[in-house]
């Protein structure tokens, strides 16, 4: 077993890239451990590894010559041919110049000649950054649309950001700012913000955040501040949970399409894998337990130890909600398989329309048993539209997870002046209420107009009730029913229509031709401009077909 310790090296980020030989080693050895650990017995623990190690030799020998085969994790092999890329990826030639370090098992520890070796993670991410998602964001940065200043610039529809109600926050500050950071009256308490503060957040702030979460969820649940751990954004919140709940080589089930950032947050530094649970347009992209069960069993067959399931509710990129029954079913599933549930509810306050949002916390509140496997991720980036302030929340019912997460916040805690400011802002519950209500109204109005605009162009959307985006079906406009066709259309939208949208393949959607359009950075008068631009592309596509 000592051998395995050396092999724990993380393979380069496999996001649509072929994993190297090192990856193959890991993918075999890790399942081995899964088997051993699952059985737990001393006898099995010593015999099985020996036997399997013997087979492993065969496996490796057979596979070494053919790196394309078998090396791909289940998660990546579901997406289409990785060699076909968008034309725009050619712009990123500068990134491909990096040489690959030989993976560690191939290197003799004593050889210190050759190129400077850095960690495997470096190569992973450098490659990851030529995904259409990143390319699009970069294009907007270089050439941003401005009605007067740059009317031909690229319009941003690829960033889930909400500017609709930001001026409410600004107004609040104008009135209340003098005390906000610096404490009451004239006495400036610099030592209360500059010195070391609890890394998992000030207790006062936890209390206000708990209150805000309840308010956002229309007081259906009350949150206990002592179950809160605060982090510098939801990104580290998810990573910390991933570090706490899974070892390198373990896996989480994640329904697709999912938020592209999960690949970074859940997998990158932790070495944890994601198993895709495909949702389909036929089910309106709702999660099916059958698919979940199938994914779980497949993972098990591959020897992967599944540690949990990660859901987003409201979902990103689709924007639909999980019903109360689905949540119960999920909980049953998790109980049966003895795994965790991470419920990402960062958009809970951005629901619009009539459908009811149900927090996982509410379900767990009513069920007395088994709360320990439930963890909620929240943040103020979306619901209060303050992504710059970096406030993320872990809300867990598991004391051990809370204890470990608190220690891990050393690496990513929130700056104290920002906490002080938000304490006073969120304590003003009248302001908070106005903000939430107004924000929902505005989101609803934009959503309705945007979807109507798309419909006129012959683009249908899945009905969604949350988030800043709609999930649009453009499969009728793609030249071939494949990821290649999808990326071609994406490229046209970016370069001809000059709108940056997120193609479904970035979210690992199993069906090609779906796109996420974020509308909350626009104003109402921008909508006709956007539609006109999209029409330019859809018209030519229709002519072609």
């Amino acid at each position: 077993m000592t051998r395995t310790r050396f092999s724990r090296k993380r393979s380069p980020e496999p996001e649509k890239e072929k994993a190297g030989g090192g990856g193959a080693v890991m993918r075999v050895i890790v399942p081995l451990q899964g088997v051993v650990q699952g059985s737990g017995g001393l006898v099995l623990g010593s015999i099985i590894p020996c036997a399997l190690f013997y087979f492993l030799q065969f496996y490796l020998k057979r596979n070494r010559d053919d790196p394309n085969d078998q090396n791909e994790s289940n998660s990546t092999s579901q997406t289409q041919n990785p060699t076909t890329r968008s034309p725009s990826s050619g712009q990123l030639a500068e990134l491909t110049g990096l040489t690959r370090t030989p993976s560690r098992p191939l290197l003799s520890p004593r050889s210190h000649t050759g190129p400077v070796s850095i960690s495997g993670r470096v190569h992973g991410i450098v490659k990851g950054s030529d995904s259409p998602y990143c390319v699009g964001l970069r294009r907007v940065k270089e050439d941003p649309y401005d009605e007067l200043g740059n009317p031909n610039g690229v319009i941003q529809l690829g960033l889930a950001e909400n500017k609709l109600s930001l001026e409410l926050v600004k107004d609040w500050l104008t009135e209340n700012a003098s005390n906000a950071i610096l404490g009451n009256g004239k006495e400036l308490s610099i030592s209360g913000i500059a010195t070391y503060q609890p890394f998992d957040g000030l207790m006062e702030f936890k209390v206000t955040v708990a209150g805000f979460m309840s308010q956002v969820m229309e007081n259906a649940v009350s949150f206990n501040p002592s179950q809160i751990v605060l982090t510098a954004g939801a990104t580290p919140a998810i990573e910390i949970l991933s570090f706490c709940l899974a070892d390198a080589g373990n896996a989480f089930l994640v329904p697709t399409p999912y938020y592209p950032g999960f690949d970074r947050d859940v997998k990158w530094r932790t070495g944890v894998e994601i198993i895709h649970v495909p949702c389909r347009s036929a089910d309106n992209f709702n999660l099916s337990i059958t698919a979940l069960d199938r994914a779980f069993n497949q993972a098990k067959k591959r020897g992967l130890k599944v540690r949990g399931i990660i859901i987003s509710n409201p979902s990103n990129p689709v924007g639909n909600l999980l019903s109360r029954e689905s949540l119960y079913t999920l909980l049953d599933f998790a109980r049966e398989k003895n795994i965790h549930i991470i419920s990402n509810e960062i958009l809970a306050g951005c629901t619009h329309g009539n459908e009811e949002f149900v927090s996982m916390a509410e379900i767990v509140d009513q069920e007395d048993v088994d709360r320990k496997r439930v963890h909620i991720v929240y943040g103020l980036s979306k619901d209060l539209s303050l992504p710059g302030f970096r406030v993320g929340v872990i809300y867990s019912f598991n004391e051990e997870v809370l204890a470990a997460a608190k220690k891990l916040t050393r690496f990513s805690s929130i700056s104290a002046p920002t906490q002080r400011l938000l304490i006073s802002m969120l304590s003003d519950s009248k302001f908070v209420q106005t903000f939430i209500t107004t924000n929902r109204e505005r989101l609803q109005r934009m959503y309705v107009q945007f979807v109507a605009g798309l419909k006129k162009l012959g683009i249908g959307c899945i009905k969604s009730s949350g988030g800043f985006y709609c999930w649009a079906d453009m499969s009728g406009f793609i030249s071939s029913y494949s990821e290649k066709g999808e990326l071609e259309l994406w490229d046209k939208l970016l370069n001809i229509a000059k709108v940056n949208v997120t193609p479904g393949s970035c979210c690992h959607c199993i069906e090609p031709g779906w796109f996420r359009f974020c509308f909350a950075t626009l104003t109402e008068k921008d909508i006709p401009v956007v539609m006109e631009r999209i029409q330019k592309v859809t018209e030519t596509c229709k002519l072609n077909s």
Partner: protein
């Protein structure tokens, strides 16, 4: 089987969540707990424990406060600054605000005596120096790789460099006989030891100015370090977070300055910086990675998503640090006050015959208590430490927690308290030392009694980290359900 079932619940969590990688079971943190349960207050709790284990710089808060009041627009959260609010609130680019990066680069240059300029485009944000150190390790090494660290070293390194990265630390033992200098010979020895253990050494990490010694590295030592890492083709990470705390000569030299006129591979050199010590802003959580290696800059920048500094705080600091007049005055005042505080303390100790390692930087000094040890062992050191914390009621940190290879040294922090508290602390030490010399015999019995005190003390932590490297018996499967930290085993 029985065991597995009992631990079923724990088994649901990861190794990282259940092991002792956080390093909080060491005397360093035990001392903090003792302080937390009975904190000193001049009037309300005059018999409490005085915190001298926390390297915090509170000497110049009056200057900061004045500046913030004079520049209300800088903290966008005042009526004067609210116009910038909208841009700042939604700013989430992990590159950081341009003005923030420029201001930090300029400040780093200023702190290094303007002998070298730092490129704002290489400034990468991170969640404090803690996050910065971890980020660099994530970028440079894979699980199982090792870093050489001259000891005594910062107690938190055990956590920052190893916990989540899966790295190992191999100490480079520095000795009092040459004032804890880092010698080429010691480096070679450690490197060879690593080779024997079949460890893949990825680099050396040093703190300059040193924590816990409070000394700065001289040019020759740094040049020899650079030659060493260049010869071995391994990385050099310089933790320079105490750069501006140097209060007398010799001056601080950044590694950036040293490599300017050296023939070496700059891709191997990385700097970690922070505003927590130099400005006294640990609450702002600003850590910086500055690398000369493009791939590392690129990768670290992406990792900064895991520890971004709030844009509001970036904006505030950008305005503050670009105010040259303020920065000049602040740095001048700060080193003046640190010098004075250092003098008061060390002189006070000298009077009762306690000497300290000669130092000129940091928020602490390295106190030599060897004459007071009953026996020159780490047990003796721990025994003395127990007396100091329980009886003298000072939380100082024993050398063991910094992985010092000689017993009897203690780190004493002096910048996190006011002048009155300094007097109380000095008084307590004086009384203790005088009483100790008066009835040296009686002290032994007293110590015995103290041992029964319920203060949890994990005596052997740091030692065992190191031994854990050497003994193959410790290398069980990372996926084993058995809690496998050597710390846990040692205590059962």
């Amino acid at each position: 089987m029985e065991f597995t079932r009992k631990n079923n619940n724990r088994q649901l969590l990861s190794r990282i969540a259940t092991n002792d990688g956080h390093g909080e079971n060491s005397p360093y943190f035990d001392g903090w707990k003792a302080y937390d349960s009975n904190p000193f207050h001049l009037t309300q709790n005059p018999d409490g424990v005085i915190q001298m284990g926390l390297a915090e710089n509170q000497l110049c808060f009056d200057l900061i406060k004045k500046w913030v009041l004079q520049n209300p627009e800088a903290s966008i959260c005042t009526a004067e600054g609210v116009d910038r609010f909208k841009d700042i609130a939604i700013f989430q680019d992990y590159h950081g605000l341009q003005e923030f990066r420029e201001a930090v680069a300029k400040f780093m240059g200023r702190v290094g005596g303007n002998r070298v300029t730092f490129d704002p485009n290489r400034i990468v944000m991170s969640g404090g120096a803690t996050g910065a150190n971890e980020t660099v390790m994530f970028c440079l090494a894979d699980p199982g790789d090792a870093f050489l660290v001259p000891s005594p070293y910062y107690a938190g390194f055990a956590r920052d460099l190893r916990w989540r990265t899966g790295l190992e630390i191999i100490p480079v033992h520095c000795k009092s006989s040459n004032n804890f200098r880092i010698t080429r010979q010691a480096l070679e020895e450690a490197y060879e030891k690593a080779q024997r253990l079949n460890k893949n050494v990825k680099g050396v990490i040093i703190a300059n100015p040193s924590n816990p010694l409070g000394t700065v590295l001289d040019r020759d030592t740094m040049r020899s370090l650079v030659t060493f890492i260049n010869d071995k083709k391994i990385h050099l990470v310089c933790d320079e977070i105490y750069a501006a705390t140097v209060f007398s000569s010799p001056r601080f030299m950044s590694i950036a300055e040293i490599i300017q006129d050296m023939d070496c591979d700059k891709d191997l050199v990385h700097i970690v910086y922070s505003l927590s010590k130099d400005m006294g802003f640990p609450g702002f959580r600003v850590g910086i990675v500055y690398s000369f290696n493009d791939a590392v800059v690129n990768c670290a920048r992406k990792m900064s998503s895991f520890g971004l500094v709030s844009s509001q705080t970036q904006f505030l600091l950008a305005s503050m640090l670009s105010d040259e007049e303020f920065v000049e005055n602040f740095l001048r005042q700060s080193s003046k006050r640190l010098a004075k505080r250092h003098r008061v303390f060390t002189k006070g100790l000298e009077q009762v015959g306690i000497s300290c390692l000669k130092s000129n930087a940091g928020l602490f000094f390295w106190m030599d208590m060897r004459p007071l040890l009953k026996e020159q062992t780490f047990e003796g050191e721990t025994e003395l430490w127990r007396v100091i914390i329980n009886e003298v009621k000072l939380n100082v940190s024993p050398g063991l927690s910094f992985n010092c290879c000689e017993p009897g040294w203690f780190r004493v922090c002096f910048a996190n308290m006011d002048d009155e508290t300094v007097e109380v602390a000095l008084d307590r030490i004086r009384k203790f030392v005088l009483q100790g010399t008066e009835n040296a015999a009686g002290a032994g019995n007293k110590c015995k009694r103290r041992q029964k005190n319920n203060l949890c003390l994990s005596i052997s932590s740091s030692r065992l980290y190191e031994e854990g490297l050497m003994s193959p018996a410790h290398m069980i499967s990372p996926h084993s359900p058995i809690p496998q930290s050597p710390l846990v085993r040692a205590r059962t």
